[in-house]
């Protein structure tokens, strides 16, 4: 069992809170008046049947979708929407349901790209690649190597990611997100399409990330076993509406959740 008790976390400070958010595409309501928060240091799961609005929720949080109503408070700043790179700048990192790596680049360069916000030298320095520019490049390479070490992907660091198997691509993508040193890490189905062993590895990495770097994590996952093992608290969406919110145990015994899931074969 994970070390900090869920009750401690519930009492903790919220890093992000979503208030009365609604999002619609044309006439279709993807999210309808949803509110919840994510506390500092926790692993928060967002679950729900297909089409529940989970991915849309992540897209709202990191600024890719702009909700029509509601507010998002992140690290004390409240706004209705922001640009994705502002979210990144603010400390939100993200992985995608279908791996969104830079296919033409090596695993190493993909993760290096995640450092882009931390790099300061202008293009003239980069062009000369001497002195401070080289020092900076090396310093960040080192940080990236620590992540590579952490995720145990040493053997593939210089391989173009398009040539990697799916499971490793997911790991590289996690690496790229970690390279941003985020305060909040959004994982969209980190274990989709993985076999059991890969899932176990990924679970371990997620726990280690939370543990080692103290990163707050919000994740979407279909595998209920994984969700129950990993997360401190779970919020359940169904058809864009929040139907439950609480510890894994509370959620598991919630009648609305059971009903929502009964409709979908899992």
């Amino acid at each position: 069992m994970r070390a900090p008790a869920a009750s401690d976390i519930a009492a903790g400070e919220a890093i992000l809170s979503v208030k009365n958010v609604s999002l619609a595409f044309g006439g279709v309501k993807a999210i309808n008046d949803v509110s919840f928060d994510i506390k500092k240091g926790e692993i928060r799961a967002i679950i729900g049947p297909n089409g529940a609005g989970k991915t849309s929720m992540l897209n709202v949080i990191n600024g890719f979708y702009h909700p029509q109503h509601g507010q998002i408070t992140f690290k004390g700043r409240t706004r209705q929407a922001m640009r994705p790179y502002e979210a990144a700048r603010g400390g939100i990192a993200r992985t995608f349901q279908n791996v969104a790596l830079f296919k033409g680049m090596s695993a190493l360069d993909n993760i290096m790209a995640g450092r882009t916000l931390k790099m300061r030298r202008g293009f003239l320095w980069q062009m000369l690649r001497i002195g401070p520019a080289l020092t900076e490049e090396i310093a960040h390479r080192r940080r990236v190597e620590e992540i590579i070490d952490f995720l145990e992907i040493q053997a593939i660091r210089k391989i173009q990611v398009a040539r990697l198997p799916y499971g490793l691509q997911k790991r590289v993508e996690l690496g790229r997100a970690l390279a941003m040193e985020p305060d909040l890490l959004l994982l969209d189905e980190p274990m989709a399409g993985m076999n059991l062993e890969e899932k176990e590895d990924m679970s371990r990495f997620i726990i280690d990330v939370n543990d080692h770097y103290g990163t707050t994590i919000a994740l979407i996952e279909h595998d209920m076993g994984v969700v129950m093992d990993l997360s401190d608290r779970v919020v359940v969406l169904d058809h864009g509406v929040k139907i439950a919110d609480g510890t894994p145990d509370e959620v598991k015994s919630n009648q609305a959740v059971i009903d929502a899931y009964l409709g979908v074969a899992h």
Binding site: A93, F96, A113, F123, M127, L128, E137, I138
Partner: protein
């Protein structure tokens, strides 16, 4: 087969991130540099085959170097940043005409006040020409923030047609010469005059080597990764904190700068005197073919592509000649069309990443020899 990499291990990141991490490659590079910087001038000086006449230097090597430079510029935009451009000819033209203006003195009447800059030396003129091209690049790159892919390609054509017109119709740029054709100023660099083909060759070589090096540094640095990120997956790029505005406009600016400098060199060093037609849409396509055939996203590819596109017509002209088959000039030009087009299709089918990838594959084979993979 030729590589002996066992024992070449890296103890520092600087060594690990080197452009040529393998010793054998470094040796080959130094040999090549020695040949192009010392060997060729010597051979040319003593008129040793194939440098018996000036033809090779003047008509092949100089244009090859300049177009390679332009191809590097275009490759940054199209190959690295993924923004297809059909307007490179225009940016070459901006470079050429602005360098010409700076070289002959700029006089802008502004509400009665005349802004006037005295004629500048050649080097600053060329660089300022590049700078003007960069500004043009930024202006015509702004649509790239809203539009993508093929729509953008069409938008860059707007630059091509607009500047074609500008330099043909706005006589201010041509210093009101009656013919519309202009002559390059005397090429003088820090008191040295560049006249002979050898000197022109050396001048271009220095430009190309310096710019290639700077470009290589750029594309393997943070900005280069930003470009490639945008090229490969722009949404994800934005979500890791890359500002598309900055990255794309930088790509347009730097690409156009290099192309502009190449344009100025093309006009000053290769042509000497020129008309707007020298930078028509045909030039844009020629450059685009160079980067496609050479390899998108590869500095080396820019050279390979430029060499190929330049050498192909010569080959098509010479080979039937050598075989005793009479071919008219017109037929050769049509043959060039057909062969170039067919080659592009063939390469896109067989190796969409161009000669650079073929080269890399061959190198990989040599490194792994006798293993097949």
């Amino acid at each position: 087969m030729l590589y002996r990499e066992a024992g070449q291990f890296k103890t520092s990141y600087a060594a690990d991130m080197a452009v040529f991490p393998i010793r054998q490659d470094r040796i080959a590079l130094w040999l090549l540099l020695a040949f192009v910087f010392i060997g060729i001038p010597l051979l040319a000086n003593f008129q040793i085959w194939p440098f018996g006449s000036e033809y090779l230097l003047r008509a092949i090597l100089v244009p090859f170097l300049i177009l390679s430079l332009a191809a590097i510029g275009l490759n940054i935009l199209t190959g690295y940043c993924g923004q297809l451009s059909l307007g490179s000819g225009a940016f070459m033209a901006i470079g050429a005409y602005c360098a010409y203006k700076f070289g002959t003195g700029v006089n802008i009447p502004l509400f009665g006040l005349a802004l006037s800059i005295p004629p500048l030396p050649v080097l600053p003129s060329i660089l300022l020409g590049g700078l003007m091209a960069a500004i043009g690049g930024i202006l015509f790159g702004i649509p790239s923030l809203r539009i993508k892919g093929l729509y953008l390609a069409v938008a860059t054509l707007a630059a091509q047609f607009f500047f074609d017109w500008v330099f043909a119709r706005v006589q201010w740029f041509t210093n009101y010469t009656s013919s519309g054709s202009v002559n390059a100023p005397q090429l003088e660099f820090f008191g040295l005059f560049v006249n002979t083909p050898i000197e022109r060759y050396m001048l271009c070589l220095i430009f190309v080597v310096v710019f290639a090096m700077l470009a290589k540094n750029l594309v393997r640095g943070n900005l280069g990764r930003q470009w490639m990120a945008i090229r490969d997956m722009d949404i994800a790029a934005e979500l890791i904190g890359i500002r598309p505005l900055y990255a794309k406009l930088m790509a347009f600016a730097i690409s156009s700068f290099i192309i502009g400098v190449a344009g100025a060199l093309w006009a000053f060093v290769y042509l000497g005197s020129w008309e707007p037609l020298a930078f028509s849409i045909d030039r844009s396509f020629q450059l685009l073919f160079m980067v496609i055939i050479g390899g998108l996203g590869s500095i080396l590819g820019s050279f390979l592509g430029a060499a190929f596109i330049l050498v192909l017509p010569i080959l098509l002209d010479q080979v039937p000649h050598a075989l005793g088959i009479p071919v008219s000039v017109e037929t050769v030009s049509l043959l060039v069309f057909i062969v170039t087009g067919a080659l592009i299709c063939w390469l896109l089918i067989v190796e969409p990443h161009g000669f650079a990838r073929l080269w890399a594959t061959a190198k990989e084979k040599l490194r792994l020899w006798p293993y097949p993979y």
